[in-house]
């Protein structure tokens, strides 16, 4: 599968990673090489095989729906690049 620069641009956008226009052709060719490698999977007969969801045959555990933690505003905000008045601060989202 050959990836064109438009596809590379779209993937970068979906991944929210800024890629400069002049970098897109190189990125597209890297993707093509990796996807070419992955395409070996098409040789495998997977007819009737269920996709694996859990490698160990155990039910995902559940716990009681009760509050077990909380009231840690200071700790939660401690590593934020920009925290103000008890909130995470980000550039204006709504005009």
């Amino acid at each position: 599968m050959s990836i064109d620069t438009e596809t590379a641009r779209r993937v970068a956008k979906l991944a929210r990673i800024k890629v400069e226009d002049d970098q897109l052709p190189a990125l597209a060719s890297e993707f093509s090489a990796i996807l070419g490698f992955i395409e070996q999977l098409n040789e495998v007969d997977v007819e009737g095989v269920e996709p694996m969801t859990s490698v160990t045959p155990q039910r995902l555990k559940r716990r009681d729906d009760v509050v077990t933690d909380g009231s840690q505003q200071e700790a939660v905000l401690k590593n934020a690049p920009d925290a103000r008045e008890g909130f995470f601060a980000v550039p204006k989202v709504v005009e």
Partner: protein, 493 residues
Amino acid sequence: MTDLTKLTIAQARDAIRKGDTTSAEITNACLSAIEGAGALGAFVHHTPEIAANQAKAADARIKAGDAPAMCGIPLGIKDLFCTKGVPSQAASGILEGFKPEYESTVTTQLFDAGAVMLGKLNMDEFAMGSSNETSVYGNAVNPWRRGNEDTALTPGGSSGGSASAVAADLCLGATGTDTGGSIRQPAAFVGITGLKPTYGRVSRWGIVAFASSLDQAGPMTKDVRDSAIMLQAMCGHDPMDSTSADLAVPDFEAALTGDIKGKTIGIPKEYRMDGMPEEIEKLWADGTAMLKDAGAKIADITLPHTKYALPAYYVIAPAEASSNLARYDGVRFGHRAKLAQGDGITEMYEKTRAEGFGPEVQRRVMIGTYVLSAGFYDAYYNRARKVRALIKRDFDQVFADGVDAILTPATPSAAFGLGENMDPIQMYLNDVFTVTVNLAGLPGISVPAGLDSQGLPLGLQLIGRPWEEAELLNTAYALEQAAGFVAKPTKWW
């Protein structure tokens, strides 16, 4: 006591209990060794004050007669583990300055058992790499060299700092994590023992996530006994990790009898790769003979889907990574890009992630995004998950037929030079023998078994049945005793 840093965990434990030395003495010896080993690039955050306090507390506990096996043992901790108040940045620029407000379950358990933290260890960024060359801190370097050359060799990856530190006697043991081979490949490259437990044996809580269905933490140690001792302290059920297994933990060290009479060891024909170096082939044959001499039965087995493990891995791991790494958005922790006038929140995300993630992480996040995107999800992601089911079925079949453990080479080559292996797909091939084990959720251990013609260590891998780490460690112990690997790197750093 001559050189305290050279002790194994078991030797140190016994010496401390007998009163021949103290945790403080061993810890100080390690701290001095670390100070003199900057050229290895192994330790990237130093915590001598924490170490001194923990050693003092450990010595007090031992005096009081309360001494678990890991009490007073100085360790290095891979940078992927969150350690409270200590930088934990997964060797990534995007977590620059991040100091967790909490402690991972593994480090909590180790510290509760009295272990001492010397500092944080280098690794590939977000554990994505096989040579430690994707680290924001720069390379970790292998203490081994080829003959009399001074070419800097990779300690492997992603747990490269852990491998380098243990092999160079900077610490008595180290934590590692393994998503596709990141404990076993570096262990093989530096001549130490590295164990990846069964998926679910060790809690993932507080370990920076890469690919959650594959990630597992484990010990990297100087010998098999130490891996048994350290695993004991690391594992167990944890309600904070929903995939953590609620199973009894056996006494791993007590399982080390060295008796493997009547056990069946499988030799998978698919692991005999085209172009495999003769030395690896010979090492594998020698290892097979050793286990046979120890009384094991050798069985030729087939794992037909082996060839498809790496391509399946390079769909599943990036897919999970793209989802896990979505959290690095410049809002809650770590790096945020400087914004231009008029930049909105999308520009903030895009610039932050472009600046914070290195090239390999960006590549994998974008591949993961692609294979999960509308129109490709079935063709790539679902197909890879089906192939993964077939890979696991191969192992299930072999174990059902009575095989107790499987012997393979750990890596397709000895350690290579830093900068020698720059093509991403060539780099991925490093994990060809280890990645199947992650996909099938099995325990695997790398044991040093010999030197190549240039004097570099080579490792063999043993793969065990799910939850049978005790039996696996015992087989590894038998192999270790037969191989008698005692070589150490000559100090140049």
